[in-house]
């Protein structure tokens, strides 16, 4: 394996982990905004309780992916940052407001006007951030940086739906209260259907407007990934309905990874199709090697720390919110 392939692998792992865990936190914001029914308050409490201890750690996956990209593939990163300045800046505003609003509303919860205002900002920002990140991904995958194209925008919508689906599936296990669990189960089912509809939309649009993307999907790896994504979606539905909540979490994570696999597989070895490949974008081997060694050492600290975080807050015996 060449150092460039290794660095690309690390980038993809970081993006996948951010999509699953960071995506779940954004999706939590979506359901916070859409909290409704007799248990709206408890829904929000469950979401706050679930996100609180972990969102900052999850957020670092984005920083990590970004840093890996500019260290290991600097010209591609510079090109993407210059060409997609607008959608990335909008995503950034969403990311910043989401994090700040989440903390502000929690600490200001006894001042209703303030808490309500920041709650709306929290929810809206949780939609804006994944929408524009998805939009930027669409504009990169199409290879034309056309972030206002219907195709790129449809990828943005799809990204929001994915976040909402992951969050709903994750949230079922964040409470022990049956009625509240059912609220999130219903949301998980609805979001899975939304994922299918909004996943079909970019495919149809690509068919008409981005032919090279469709030809990329002739790649067997991409085809397998897309089929797997759909199958995992079915599995998620089955598991959510039958109450196998832990297995459903794993299945929805696998679904997101399969979706990303379709994207990566479809455009590999291009970093930006038609513009940058791993070979043309890669930093010198000295940098890539130093980076990979640093990443290996860093992982030795990171992995046990992350496991400790999950054990304390998500493991058996962790007290759950929403009641």
């Amino acid at each position: 394996m060449s150092p460039a392939t290794g660095a690309a692998g690390v980038t993809l792992v970081a993006i996948a982990l951010y999509a699953v865990f960071g995506g779940a936190d954004f999706g939590g914001g979506v359901w916070d905004l859409l909290a409704s029914g007799p248990r709206a308050r408890q829904q929000r409490a469950t979401i706050t309780h679930a996100i609180g201890p972990v969102w900052e750690a999850h957020h670092v996956w984005l920083i990590f992916a970004l840093v890996t990209l500019f260290t290991c593939f600097p010209p591609a990163y510079a090109d993407i940052a210059a060409q997609l300045n607008a959608p990335l800046t909008l995503a950034l505003l969403g990311i910043v407001l989401r994090g700040a609003a989440f903390v502000f509303r929690n600490f200001g919860e006894d001042v209703p006007a303030l808490a309500q205002g920041w709650t709306v900002v929290f929810g809206a920002a949780s939609i804006i951030a994944p929408f524009f990140l998805g939009d930027a991904v669409g504009a990169i995958a199409a290879g034309d940086y056309a972030w206002t194209s219907p195709f790129a925008l449809s990828v943005g919508l799809f990204a929001v739906a994915l976040c909402a689906q992951v969050a709903a599936v994750f949230l079922v296990r964040e409470t022990r209260e049956g009625a509240l669990q059912d609220d999130f189960r219903r949301r998980a089912v609805a979001a899975t259907l939304a994922v299918w509809v909004l996943g079909a939309l970019p495919t149809v649009l690509a068919w008409r407007t981005v032919p090279q993307l469709i030809s990329a999907l002739h790649d067997p790896a991409a085809q397998v990934a897309v089929v797997l994504a759909f199958v995992f979606g079915l599995v998620v539905l089955a598991l959510v309905v039958t109450g196998s909540d832990l297995a459903a979490r794993i299945a929805v994570g696998a679904e997101v990874v399969a979706v990303l696999g379709g994207w990566f597989g479809g455009q590999a070895p291009a970093v930006v199709p038609g513009r940058w490949t791993l070979a043309t974008a890669a930093a010198p081997d000295a940098t890539l090697t130093a980076y990979l060694i640093a990443a290996a050492i860093g992982s030795v600290l990171l992995i046990p720390a992350m496991l400790l975080l999950y054990t304390v807050f998500k493991g058996p015996g962790a007290d759950l919110g929403g009641s």
């Binding site: 750690a57 010209p75 510079a78 910043v96 903390v103 940098t287 990171l302």
Partner: protein, 439 residues
């Protein structure tokens, strides 16, 4: 607005905002650990309450620091793509390591803030240690990248292309050690005087009578940290100035407003900086030569050794430098006053408490002014001698609009933060009860 000015304004505002939260993110965990540690050892309730109060402040400040830091990591590329294209492979390594330090910080801040009732008191205290360590370490890594911008090394230029890239050499550019020390100690100076100032202000207002013991304990802990940090900062500041005199003469000459290379160079304080000299300044004859070389007749290089189009903006660098040194002098005086009082085992009298309250804004000015010196002092370069700031800027449209949007965002974040922190300080702790300490 000119594209370069707009991009610089946006980057500068973002940094000036983030640096405060970054510094507090380095220093506050230490203060909280000391407070919680005293509680664990002595069982004195005021220290537990203090740790809880400070950790609430830490929750707010850390979140705003994390998101404002994200702005910067995006803006490196969004505003300066050409810089990142050239420098990414060279300065990416410290940023990557910083990424891991940030991970550790974020994970343990989750454990610490939400673990008060879930972990044993001792395990909880230990969860704070990685926050304090990785906070300082990550600030150090970021400063390594800044050191490289001041003296880019670890590569060769061949036909306009960067070749022979050596990332480990680039990571430790000559100024790395003095810069890392200066930046890290600055964090403890700001946090120490900042937290002490807040406590002092509460004592002056008399608003903290219901938690007087807690506030006094906070003032003591914060002043201990501040009183250790500020003399160290003077020593490191002296080292960095002498390093700059030898290695970054343009920045040094601008800071000292020394236009002409001369023997027996004076220290110039304040004044009105013109195109070729300073008027109405206070001058200490031969002072600069004495400081730089311990010899009043030593020659010091002035701005005339630097081509005109490579000189930094002298007025702002010089006045920022004076602001930094001036505020740092006052901070040193405050620390000395407090240490003398503390050694005589007396409670600080009201004038000293007032001076300590004033220390908080002074420390903030010192931090920002110091940052101004190094950043404006490097201009017109983004990477000294390698790439000019004006050549690194993005071609993307709408940067001026972004500058206004982000400035507005910073105002909203700062005001909300301020308001929430005041509430954290004013409201008594009602429901928080310590868990039993296992003995």
């Amino acid at each position: 607005m000119d594209q370069v000015i707009a991009a610089r304004a946006q980057m500068g505002t973002s940094l000036a905002f983030h640096i405060v939260f970054a510094a507090l993110g380095v220093g506050l965990p230490l203060l909280v650990l000391i407070a919680e540690g005293v509680w664990l050892r002595t069982g004195r309730r005021a220290y537990y309450d203090l740790a809880r109060t400070w950790s609430k402040g830490m929750a707010i400040l850390f979140a705003v620091g994390a998101v404002s830091g994200t702005i910067l990591s995006f803006e490196l590329g969004l505003l300066w793509p050409t810089f990142m294209r050239y420098a990414g492979a060279l300065i990416g390594l410290p940023f990557s390591l910083e990424g891991f330090a940030f991970f550790i910080e974020a994970i343990f801040i989750g454990l610490y803030l939400y673990g008060w009732d879930r972990l044993s008191p001792r395990a909880h205290w230990w969860c704070g240690v990685p926050i304090a360590v990785s906070g300082a370490v990550s600030a150090g890594f970021v400063t390594l990248a800044n050191a490289w911008m001041n003296m880019p090394i670890g590569f060769r230029i061949d036909h306009g292309r960067i070749v022979d890239v050596q990332p480990l050499v680039a990571m430790f550019s000559p100024p790395w050690l003095v810069e890392v020390l200066h930046a890290t100690i600055a964090a403890y100076v700001l946090t120490g005087f900042g937290a002490a100032g807040v406590c002092a202000f509460a004592l002056l207002r008399g608003s903290a009578d219901h938690r007087r013991e807690q506030v006094r304990a906070g003032l003591t802990i914060a002043m201990v940290v501040a009183s250790i940090a500020i003399p160290l900062q003077w020593i490191v500041g002296d080292l960095i100035a002498r390093f700059d005199a030898d290695n970054e003469p343009a920045k040094f000459a601008a800071a000292e407003a020394l236009f002409h290379t001369q023997r027996g160079a004076p220290i110039t304080i304040g004044g009105i900086v013109g195109a070729d000299g300073v008027r109405y300044a206070i001058e200490i004859p031969a002072g600069l030569s004495l400081l730089v070389a311990f010899n009043p007749n030593a020659e010091v290089r002035g701005l005339d050794t630097v081509p005109r189009d490579e000189r930094p903006p002298v007025a702002i660098v010089h006045l920022s430098f004076d602001a930094m040194v001036g505020t740092a002098s006052l901070l040193l005086l405050i620390a000395v006053g407090w240490v003398i009082t503390a050694l005589r085992r007396r409670a600080p009298a009201r004038p000293l408490v007032a001076a300590i309250a004033l220390g908080a804004p002074l420390a903030l000015i010192a931090l920002e002014a110091g940052w101004f010196v190094t950043e404006f002092g490097r201009q017109p370069w983004i990477a000294h001698g390698l790439l000019r700031t004006g050549d690194a800027v993005t071609p993307a449209p709408g940067i001026a609009l972004q500058f206004y949007a982000f400035s507005l965002l910073y105002v909203v974040l700062a005001v909300t933060c301020w308001w929430l922190l005041r509430r954290v300080g004013d409201h008594p702790l009602s429901e928080e009860q310590p868990r039993e300490v296992a003995t």
